[in-house]
Each structure stands twice: as C-alpha cells, then as structure tokens.
Symmetry: C2
Subunit: 311 residues, 2 copies
C-alpha cells in the first residue's frame, strides 16, 4: 500500500527555504498534500500541510506551523485498519514509519479507496461464494468451474440435511404434514442466522467487533433470536394447527422454531469470531457452516420432537 | 456531496499573483489540492494543481500550467457515479458545474469515501434484510422489531413453498424418499441463483451492468446454470438412485435440478435489472423473490415429475 515518493524537510528551516527547495523539483508526486518534517536521522516529527505553507509568512520556520498531532502509521499495520484511520481522520496522505520511528514512505487516499472498495466487495462476493475480483463478464468456462466448486460444497450441506431427514423416515410416513412443514423451520433459522452473521462480518470489517464486546453481542443476538423466534413460532403454530386440524403439530413446530432461531443467533454471532481466530475467511465459510447448522438443527428438532409425540 | 468552499482564479494572472492572493487567506479549505480557473463569468475552464504551482516559475501565467483535461462534474450526477469517477481518476477533489458550465463548488475525496463505503455496505446489509446504518450494538427492542418484519416476509415465502409441497401430499405419502430429497433441489437452486444475483447487483453498483449488455450476461448465466445444473444433477442422481435403490428417483431429481438451476440463473440475472427499472432496491427485494422462485420451482418440478412417474 505504501509508496516511497516523499518530500521531507527539517524543522529548523524557513518556509521560504522550503518553497525554493520545492521549486528545484521538476514536479511533485501525485496526491501530495503534506511535506514530512523529519530529524537529521530521518525520524518523523510532524506534517507540513502545503496549504498551510501557502498562507504563512515565508520568514517563519517549519517548526512554527508544522502539525505534530498526526501520528504516523506503523509499517506492519493491516490494510483494513489503515483504511479505517483514513476514513476516521479524512486524510489524503499519511506518513509510514518503522518500529524505530524512521520515515519509510507514505500512503495515499487513492490506494486506500481501492482497499475500502475491495474490503466491502469482499464480504458481499465471498458470502455468495464468488471471488471478489470475479469479472461480471468473464468467460463461461472459467466462471462455471469456480461456481461448480461452491455448488459442490453446498451439496454436501444439503446431503447432510437429507440424511438427517432420512433418520425420521418412519415418522414422516406416518404424518405427512411434517414433510410439508419442515422447510419452514429450516428456512426461518437460516434467515435469522444470516442476519446475525452479516452484522458481525460487517462489524469485523469496520473494526467494531472485538474480543471485549463479543459477549455483549452474543447476549443481545440470543435475546433477539428468542423474541423473534417466539413471535413467529406462535404465528406458524396457529397456521399449522388450523391447516392440519392438529394442535400437537402446532406445538411441535413452535418449540422447534424457537430452538432453531436461538441456535441460529448463537451460530451467526460466534462463527465469524471463531473462523477469524483460526484464520478462515468468515465471509466465505460462515454462510455454508451456518446453513448446515440451521438445516440440521431445524430438521432434527422438528422431526425429533414429532417422533416423541407421535410414536 | 458538494461543498462551496472553493478558491478560484482567472487564467491571465501570474503564479506570483496567485501566491500573493493565497497568502491573504487566514487558511485554505481542508483537502484543497486544486485551485479552479474560471472566466470572468465564473465559467469553469480548468484546474491549477497546487503542487504544480509550487514547482513553476512564479512569472508565468496560470493559463500556461493549468490542466484543462479534467472535466467538471455536473451538479445532478448520481452519487455513485461521482464515486466511480473519483476511483477511476484518483481524484482528491473535483469541480462541480451547472448546466451552463458555471462553477458551483467542489466535491472532495473524504466525502466520496463515505459514499463508496455506504454503497458497498448497502448491498451487503440489504441482502440480509438489514438497514445499512444498522448499529452492531443497537438496543434489543429496536433490532428485534426491524428483523421481525424481515422474518415475516420470509415466512410468507416459506409458507408458499409449504403450500406447493402440500399439493403433492399423496405422492409423498406413497414415496417418502421424495420428502428426504426435495430440500436438495430447492437449496441448490437457491445457491446458484444467489451467485448470479450477487454478481449482477455488484455489477450495477460498479456501473458495469447496462441495458446494452444484459442480454449477453443473461445468456452467459443460463449456460453456466445449465452446465453446473447438469454436472451436479448427475452426481445427485447417482447418489439418490443408489440410496433408495431406484433409478426413477435419480432420473426425476436430475431433471428437476437442471430445470431449477436454469430458472435460478434467469431469475438471478434478470431480477436486479427488472427491480431497478421499477425503482425497487434489488439488494433488498432480490433475495426474497429469488428464494421464492427457486423454492417453488424446485419443489414443483421435483414433486410434479414424481407424481407423473409414480402415479
């Protein structure tokens, strides 16, 4: 992200000297809004904004108008965190230093904009199993191959769900209404879980989600899941009871939905944190794992409870 | 997006005059990298980059070093298009003009960065039914209410799917394997469709998808859907035939999957374009409508074919 085309000056020279020094250049690097003030040993001290220099008395010294408030970026800082700093402070360029405080170069907003766009695009595209630099108009064969892999991974999820349903084959044969209603339990869990998942993945990208607040967030999401689970469970229970003229099936689907929405909230919130800790991209893997959980839990809770009640 | 704190000069004055004029200011507006060159009637002519002024002979005129290549932004241009221009040209600031070419103000990169972040965030959040300024740490009640609405909308989708399954109740009672396998057809369609949907929504945000190339894109996605549909249909057909020791069910699920993946490709590609044309946010409504289509088509194709073959 860094480039090395910087202009540096010492703090003890006059603005007039700086202006004469600049005039010796053929041209200045693109996106230069600051000149960097350094010691004799190239240690970063502060910024000299060009615009401030233009409105100052040429006879005063650099140290009188330089800005020492702006901290330099350490060279090993993560690209996304650099982008967050630029966004927060409305920077156009910022100095980069090594551990010893020596200036190495600068980062400019035009490159940071690319990082911001990629970061945000990354989550969106990865959640659909697409590469973030997937071309909208890439050739058919290349596109097919990439997507085939993603469909294959999702097929494993679907097969696992089918296998779970298969375990309750006898119960379904007995009460066919279960086959009709079971997709509702799984799909509501999937929707609720993906809301929590998306929120946490975006919170991670913006740097809002940390180890310190994950407990609060988990707690909040579980309460939200329980409230909405209960609310819609009652609605679905009423519809199911009326549809199949059977109070038991209404009761079973209500309990199964509440269980699945709470599990969905826990999974959706904790999965991105766990995946990030083990260096797996939450946007890529989070959705598949979440769907597997909400499908398996949804089908098992619903069909399992039904087996208990109708056996 | 525009602000009006601009500094303008005439083309026929010397750089030295400009420098003396600037020195009369207390300070210059934040993020000033260009001074705007205008006629006596405030018509925009070109840019005078501050850095270029600093390396020039003070005795030459503004017209000799000004940049007339950079076109000004028209005041009514869409925010996202402004952002695309800034990204393409690595601008830090750009002039804004009215229809008559008169300068009105300028747009600066710090505000454009917010637009870029919001644009990208918007698609990600809306696809999960979240508000793009949804706070990761908003209070429980506020969050629950918003998400309850989204779950309710998705419940209608799930109920419609259940209703379709209910139409084939007799067939399921006869062949319980159908209940076990049917989620595979629906879920593979959903995954394939959401890949096309995400790609087109992002293409719209980047300004890549237009009326002129939608036919090409639709054609490509249908081919990709047919290739991957056939590929995974064969795999699923083999598994299903072996699992239930029944070639017929393998044949039925293969045909249903190919139908659903092609329909998913058509829907995923055309929905964002149709929704945008009728001024509905594709990121918000696209996923729900797509899931409805892939669920209904998936269940109906699979159970409908089964009814024909097993009746």
């Amino acid at each position: 992200l860094m480039n090395t085309d910087i202009i540096t000056v010492r703090p003890d020279i006059t603005i007039d000297t700086v202006l004469r020094y600049l005039r010796r250049h053929e041209e200045m690097p693109d996106t230069t809004d600051n000149i960097f003030v350094v010691t004799r040993k190239d240690r970063y001290i502060g910024l000299l904004p060009i615009t401030r220099m233009l409105v100052s008395d040429p006879n005063i010294e650099v140290r009188d108008i330089m800005d020492t408030e702006v901290e330099a970026i350490e060279a090993d800082l993560d690209d996304s965190e650099v982008a967050n700093l630029f966004e927060r402070h409305d920077w156009v360029s910022a100095p980069v230093i090594n551990k010893q405080g020596r200036i190495l170069g600068r980062i400019t907003i035009d490159d940071v904009v690319d990082v911001i766009r990629e970061d945000a695009d990354h989550s969106l595209m990865r959640m659909a199993g697409l590469d973030e630099d997937e071309d909208t108009f890439a050739p058919v064969f290349k596109t097919s191959r990439r997507r085939a892999v993603w469909l294959g991974i999702n097929l494993l999820t679907a097969l696992l769900a089918s296998f779970m349903i298969g375990l309750f084959q006898d119960t379904i044969e007995q009460v066919v209404a279960l086959a009709i209603l079971m997709p509702i339990v799984a799909s509501m869990g999937g929707i609720a879980g993906s809301q929590a998942l998306t929120l946490v993945i975006r919170g991670q990208a913006l740097g809002h989600v940390e180890r310190s607040n994950i407990a609060y967030l988990l707690n909040r999401e579980v309460i939200v899941g329980a409230i909405n689970g209960t609310l819609w469970a009652l609605v679905v229970a009423s519809i199911a009871s009326w549809w199949f003229a059977d109070m038991t099936i209404g009761f079973i689907i209500a309990i199964a939905m509440i269980i699945n929405l709470v599990i969905a909230a826990i999974s959706g919130t904790s999965l991105p944190v766990i995946l990030k800790a083990i260096h797996i991209d939450p946007a890529l893997a989070g959705g598949v794992i979440l769907t597997t959980i909400t499908d398996v839990v949804g089908f098992c809770a619903f069909l399992g409870l039904a087996t208990l009640f109708y056996a």
